[in-house]
Amino acid sequence: MEHIDFSLVDWSRAQFALTAMYHWLFVPLTLGLSFIVAFMETKYVRTGNPEWKRITKFWMTLFGINFAIGVATGIILEFEFGTNWSNYSWFVGDIFGAPLAIEGIMAFFMESTFIAIMFFGWNKVGKKFHLASTWLVAIGSNLSALWILVANAWMQNPVGMKFNPDTARNEMVNFWEVLFSPVAIDKFTHTILSGYVLASIFVIGISAWFLLKNREHVFAKKSIRLATIFGLISAVLIAITGDNSAKMVAKHQPMKFAAIENLYHGEANAPLTAIGMLQQSNEPAKHDFVFKIQIPGMLSFLAFNNTDAFVPGIYDLLNGNPEHNILSYKERCEKGKIAITSLGEYKTAKKSGNDSLAKAALIRFEENYPHFGYGYYADRDLTELVPNVPVNFYSFRIMVGLGFYFILFFAIILFFALKDKLQNKRFLLYTALWTIPLAYIAAELGWVVAEVGRQPWLIQDILPTIASVSQVTPASVQITFWLFFVIFTGLLIAEIKIMLTQIRKGPENAAEVTQNSQIN
C-alpha cells in the first residue's frame, strides 16, 4: 500500500471532518428549536394570548437564521461521499444511497415546503394551517435526521447486507434490519435528544440574558419555563440512550470502546475511569495515566450489565487473546488478504469458465469476508488500526460530564422558574448564558467520539479509509478544504453577528403583534 498517497487520505478526511463539524454547529439547534417553536405556537393557538405569538415569532427568526446555514453546510456532506470517497460510494452505495434518497423524498420536501408557510404564511393562511406547518417543519427536520443517522449507524455496524462477488459490492438484503438496527435506533435517539438539550439551553441562556438586562420579563420567563421542561426530559433520556450507545460500542466496536477508556490490557471486573490524565508511554501506541479516579467493576457492568464480564483492551485486540477467543489483528489481516485475493481469483476463474475453481475461491472468500478490510493492512504498521486514544478519552469524558451537568442545570433552573425567583438570581442567569457554549462543545464532542473512535474504518471491519478515497490530486482536496474553510468561517461569523443583532433587538413590538393577531 506504500503508493497510496496518505496526504490524500488525510486531506479527504480533514475536509469531511470540517464540513461535518460545521454542519453540526447548526443542526442540533434546528432539531430542537423547531419543536420548541411548535410548542410555543401551540400555546398561542390554544390560549389566543398574543404574547405567545411574540415569543413564537422571535424564536422563529433565530431558527431561520440558523436553518439557512445548516442547509448550506448539509448539501456538501451528501455529495462528498461521491467526490471524496468514490470507492465507498460503489462498495456500499446499494445500502447507503437509499437512506439519502428517502431523506430527500420524505423529509426535505416536507421541511422546505412548510418552512415557507411558517415564515411567510402568518397573514396568508389560517391559524391552524400555520400551526400544522410549524409542526411539519419540526417533524420534517427530525425525519431527515433519522435517515442520515440510520446511514451513519450502518457504517458503524453494517447489518442487513451481503457482499455480491459478481458486482464487487455489498448489497442490501433486509431493509428493516438496516432501519431498525439497535445501533441505528440509539444513534437516532441519542443524537436528536442532544439537539433538544442544546436548543433548550440556547433558549434558556438567551432568555436569561433578557432578564439580566431587565428586559422582556414575561417573554423570558415563559420561554424559560417551556424550554426547561423540554430540556430536562431530554437530558434524562439522553443519559439513558447514551448508556445504550456505549453498550453498542462495547459490543460492535470494541477497539473504539477500549480507546475511549484508555484500556490496554483487558480484564474482568474492569474499572471505569471517571477522571484521568494521560501521557505518552514508551510502549507502542500506548498512553499511561498520570492520575486517575476509578470505580471498580463499573466498566464491565456498564458495557455488559455484569461486573464479571471481560472487557478487551487495545492490546488484546491488537495482539489477540486466545483465552477469550479474540483473533489478533495480524491474523485478521491475513484472513482479510485471503478474502481480497480470493475475490480476484473467483473473478478470474469465472471469466475463464472454470466453475470449480470459482466455487472454491468463493467459499474461501465468504469464510474470510468478515475480515475483508483488514486485508488492506496486511503489509502495514498495525498500530494504524488503533484510533487516537487521548482524543477519544478526553472527548468522551467531557461530553458525559457535561451531560450530567445539564441535568443538574435544568433541574435547578426549573426549581427557581417554578418559584418565579429566577430574575433575582444573577449568578444563575449568568451561568445559564455561559452554558450555551458548553452545549455546543458537548454536541461536537459526541461526534468526535463517534467518528474518531471508529478510525480507520468507513465501514467497520470491511472498508478502511485508505481503500475508499477518490483518486484526485491531494492539491485539489487541499484547495477545496481551504475554500470551504474560508466560506464556512465567513458565513459563521455572519450568522453569529446577525443572530446577536436580532437577539439584542428582542421580540417585536407587543402592539404590532396584537394588531396582527386581530387580523388573523
Binding site: 455529495f79 467526490t83 439519502l100 434518497a101 422546505s112 481480497i340 455572519a494 443583532t501
Partner: protein
C-alpha cells in the same frame, strides 16, 4: 407489488424517476436565472427587494430537488455517483460551492449587521445563478458527449500495483473542468443558463404587481430568448446528427453508433412526441407574452415550465433508454455506464420503489402549499408590511 417486476423494469423505472427529478430541477432553476436578473430588472432598492423575495420563497424547492436528485441518483445508480462525482471533482465542487453560498444569501442579505454586506450576498446569488446553471447544463451534456474515465471493479482486489484500489479512475486533465472546453457541452450549459433566465422573467411576470418591472421584463424576455433558442438549436441539431454510445442488448458490449440519438428519437415515438410538445410549449410560453399586451402575459411560466420538464425529461430518456450508455467513456468504451451496469441491486430498487409511491403525495402538498402562498401578487407595499423578508 414491485417484487413481481423484473430487474430491468425497476432499473428503467428508476431512470424515469431520476430523469423526472432532473427535469423538474431544470424548471425550478428559474430561481437561479432570476438571481442573475435582480439588477437588470430592479432599478430601485424596493424593486430589488420584491424580486429577491419572490425568488426567496421558492429557492428551497430548487435546492431540495437538487439534493433529492443527488440522493436518488446515488441510491439507484451508485456507480455513476462514484465515477462522476469522484472524477469530475472540480465541476461538482464548484456547483456545490455555488449552492452553499445561495442557501445563506437569501436569509442574510437584508439582515442588519450581516458582516459581508448586502452587496456580497447579492453577488453570491448571482454566482449561484451563473455557475449553477452553466455547470449543471455542461455536466448533463457529457451524458451525450462522453468523458474520459475507466471503471474496473476488480481493482478492489489488487493489493499491489499503481491502480490499487481505485475502482473509477478519471482520465480527464482537469477533473471535469475539461468538459467546459467542449463547445457542445458549453452550448447546453448556456442553453440552461438562458432558459433559466427566460423562465425567471416569465415567473416575475406572473407574480409581480409593478408596471416598471413588467416593462423591463418584457424587453429582457426577448434578449434572453434569442440566445436560448440559438444555443438550444446548436445542441439539438448536433445531437440529432452525431454518433452516440449504443449498447448491444445481447453481449452488453458498448459501441459507437452513427446517428444514435436520432435513432432513439425515431425508435421511441412516445418520447419523441413528448420532446416536440415540450419544445413547442417552451416556445409558445415565451412568444405569447411578447406578442400580446393585455392579460395574456401572465401564464407563460406554466406553459414554458411544463414544456421544460417534458423536454429535459425526454432528453434524459434519449440518453439512457433504447440500449444507450448514459454516461459514456471516451477513454475506454467498455467502461461506459448504462442503466443496467451501474444500478443498485434489485432488492434496493424494489425497496426504494415503495418509497417512490410517496412522490405524488409530496407533489400534492407542494402544490397545495404553493397555491396557498401565491394567491396574491406581490408588490412593494407588501414587502413593507411583511415581518419576515429577505
Amino acid at each position: 407489488m414491485f417484487e413481481t417486476f423484473s430487474y430491468l423494469f425497476l432499473q428503467q423505472y428508476w431512470w424515469i424517476i431520476v430523469s423526472l427529478l432532473g427535469a423538474i430541477l431544470v424548471f425550478l432553476m428559474f430561481v437561479q436565472g432570476g438571481q442573475t436578473l435582480i439588477y437588470t430588472l430592479g432599478k430601485t432598492e424596493d424593486e430589488r427587494t420584491v424580486l429577491v423575495n419572490l425568488l426567496g420563497r421558492k429557492w428551497e424547492f430548487t435546492f431540495t430537488t437538487l439534493v433529492t436528485f443527488g440522493g436518488a441518483f446515488f441510491a439507484s445508480f451508485p456507480l455513476f455517483y462514484s465515477t462522476s462525482f469522484g472524477g469530475a471533482y472540480w465541476v461538482w465542487m464548484l456547483i456545490l460551492i455555488a449552492f452553499v453560498v445561495q442557501a445563506v444569501a437569501y436569509e442574510y442579505r437584508s439582515k442588519p449587521n450581516n458582516f459581508l454586506g448586502q452587496r456580497t450576498f447579492e453577488i453570491m446569488l448571482f454566482v449561484n445563478g451563473l455557475l449553477g446553471t452553466v455547470l449543471i447544463g455542461t455536466a448533463v451534456a457529457t451524458f451525450f458527449t462522453g468523458s474520459a474515465f475507466s471503471v474496473d471493479k476488480m481493482n478492489l482486489t489488487l493489493l499491489t500495483g499503481d491502480k490499487m484500489p481505485i475502482i473509477s479512475e478519471w482520465k480527464g486533465l482537469a477533473y471535469g473542468l475539461e468538459a467546459a472546453l467542449n463547445p457542445l457541452n458549453l452550448s447546453l450549459g448556456l442553453t440552461v443558463f438562458f432558459l433559466s433566465r427566460v423562465l425567471a422573467i416569465l415567473y416575475f411576470m406572473n407574480r409581480v404587481r409593478n408596471i416598471e418591472i413588467i416593462e423591463r421584463a418584457k424587453k429582457q424576455l426577448i434578449y434572453n430568448a434569442i440566445p436560448f433558442v440559438v444555443f438550444f438549436l446548436t445542441f439539438a441539431i448536433w445531437l440529432m446528427l452525431s454518433s452516440g454510445f449504443a449498447v448491444n442488448p445481447e453481449t452488453k458490449e458498448i459501441f459507437v453508433e452513427p446517428f444514435k440519438y436520432f435513432h432513439n428519437l425515431i425508435q421511441m415515438p412516445v418520447v419523441a412526441v413528448l420532446f416536440v410538445i415540450g419544445v413547442l410549449m417552451v416556445l409558445i410560453g415565451i412568444i405569447r407574452p411578447i406578442t400580446c399586451f393585455e392579460k395574456c402575459n401572465t401564464k407563460g411560466i406554466w406553459l414554458s415550465g411544463i414544456g421544460t420538464v417534458l423536454t429535459v425529461f425526454s432528453l434524459f430518456l434519449f440518453a439512457g433508454f433504447n440500449n444507450t450508455a448514459y454516461y459514456p467513456s471516451t477513454f475506454d468504451l467498455q467502461s461506459s455506464l448504462t442503466i443496467e451496469n451501474s444500478s443498485s441491486s434489485q432488492y434496493t430498487l424494489t425497496a426504494m420503489s415503495y418509497v417512490s409511491l410517496l412522490v405524488p403525495f409530496v407533489i400534492a402538498y407542494i402544490w397545495f402549499a404553493w397555491r396557498a402562498m401565491d394567491s396574491k401578487k406581490i408588490d412593494i407595499e407588501e414587502m413593507k408590511s411583511e415581518s419576515h423578508i429577505y
